[in-house]
């Protein structure tokens, strides 16, 4: 280009634009002050994220690995949700059956003894399990 060199000469004059005298002497001090302030101010998650993102490139994971993991997770979620009988209503009914105390599926705790009857004869009866010792070792005294 005809005036290419002249443009370059003009641009080189911008090298003379400098910051105020003493600027670079103060710059490091200001940097250190800001760093200390930042350490106090930064939330923990930001510090953890910074550490992670700084070491992440050194994991040497294959290209597209992160994308593949996300895609696999999405596919797995879709399969689980689409499986028949895996909806929330089914889970609730299954749960109800598992904890049913209906006569066809009684729960036997073992031998029990009544400890009290209410005077009115209401069905509110309290039971305790027989007081069987689990060990004959002498109890410790402190």
């Amino acid at each position: 280009m005809e005036h290419e060199e002249e443009i370059q000469k003009l641009l080189r004059l911008k090298r003379y634009e400098q910051p105020p005298p003493g600027y670079f002497d103060d710059f490091l001090h200001e940097f250190q002050c800001r760093q200390r302030a930042e350490i106090i101010r930064r939330p923990l998650w930001a510090v953890v994220w910074d550490r992670f993102s700084s070491i992440a490139p050194s994991f040497h994971v294959p290209q597209m690995a992160y994308a593949s993991i996300v895609a696999l997770a999405l596919v797995a979620s879709a399969v689980i949700l689409a499986r028949p009988g895996s909806g929330p209503a089914t889970v609730a009914s299954a749960g109800a059956q598992a904890f049913s105390l209906s006569p066809s599926n009684p729960v036997t705790i073992g031998e029990t003894l009544p400890v009290a009857f209410t005077p009115t004869g209401s069905p509110s009866v309290h039971y305790v399990l027989p007081n069987r010792p689990v060990s004959y070792a002498p109890s410790r005294s402190f």
């Binding site: 280009m1 005036h3 290419e4 002249e6 443009i7 370059q8 000469k9 003009l10 641009l11 080189r12 004059l13 911008k14 090298r15 003379y16 634009e17 400098q18 910051p19 105020p20 005298p21 600027y23 670079f24 710059f27 490091l28 200001e30 940097f31 250190q32 800001r34 760093q35 930042e38 910074d50 550490r51 993102s53 700084s54 070491i55 992440a56 490139p57 050194s58």
Partner: protein
């Protein structure tokens, strides 16, 4: 302060091992060069100062991720250019120029004398006017073109190194320079001798 002969790589390794003073030495070593890069992209001293502080803070936080595949110089320039471009995109139109002091040496520079001493009255620009025109012309370039012009024409960084910093081909660097120079020629017509 450290021995000026200490290689960048050694200071980086010591910083990675937890020696914060080694990073201080890198700050001292690189701040003048990076100041020039950021200042010529923003044309504002206060913005340059804030941005430069953030650049070094980011570099310090990310230094464990630096693996030495490129030189530390290239790595720092990449961070600086990316952060400067992001900053300029956010700053958008609220730009105000704050021209830095011009070193007195400029008055003896043959290029300055040539640009300001032509017989043509249009060339009778003083130092301040020339500086203002140059900055205005630079700010009319796109961020990407300005980055290339700053690194090549002002900082004297070779095409190949600029290509590494910007992660583009050398051909792209040359093409951006060509286009930017053509634009600047239009803006700075009055300072170009015929």
């Amino acid at each position: 302060m450290e021995n000026p002969e200490t290689p960048d790589g050694e200071l980086v390794a010591r910083t990675q091992a937890g020696d914060a003073r080694a990073f201080d030495e890198l700050v001292v070593r690189f701040s003048p060069r990076l100041y020039g890069l950021v200042y010529n992209m923003t044309s504002n001293h206060e913005d340059t100062n804030d941005l430069l502080q953030e650049i070094f803070a980011k570099a310090y936080r990310s230094i464990n991720g630096f693996q030495g595949k490129s030189s530390f110089y290239t790595w720092m320039h990449s961070i600086s250019v990316n952060m400067a471009i992001n900053f300029l995109k956010k700053r958008n139109r609220r730009m105000t120029m704050s021209l830095d002091d011009v070193d007195n040496g400029i008055v003896n520079d043959p290029n300055f004398i040539e640009a300001t001493s032509s017989r043509d009255p249009r060339h009778q620009a003083n130092l301040g006017e020339l500086q203002k025109k140059l900055n205005e012309a630079m700010m009319k370039l796109s961020h990407e073109h300005r980055a290339v012009v700053t690194m090549f024409d002002i900082q004297g960084i070779p095409h190949a190194e600029i290509a590494k910093v910007l992660k583009v081909s050398e051909g792209t660097v040359r093409s951006r320079l060509f286009y930017a120079h053509r634009q600047l020629q239009n803006y700075l017509q009055e300072f170009i001798t015929n």
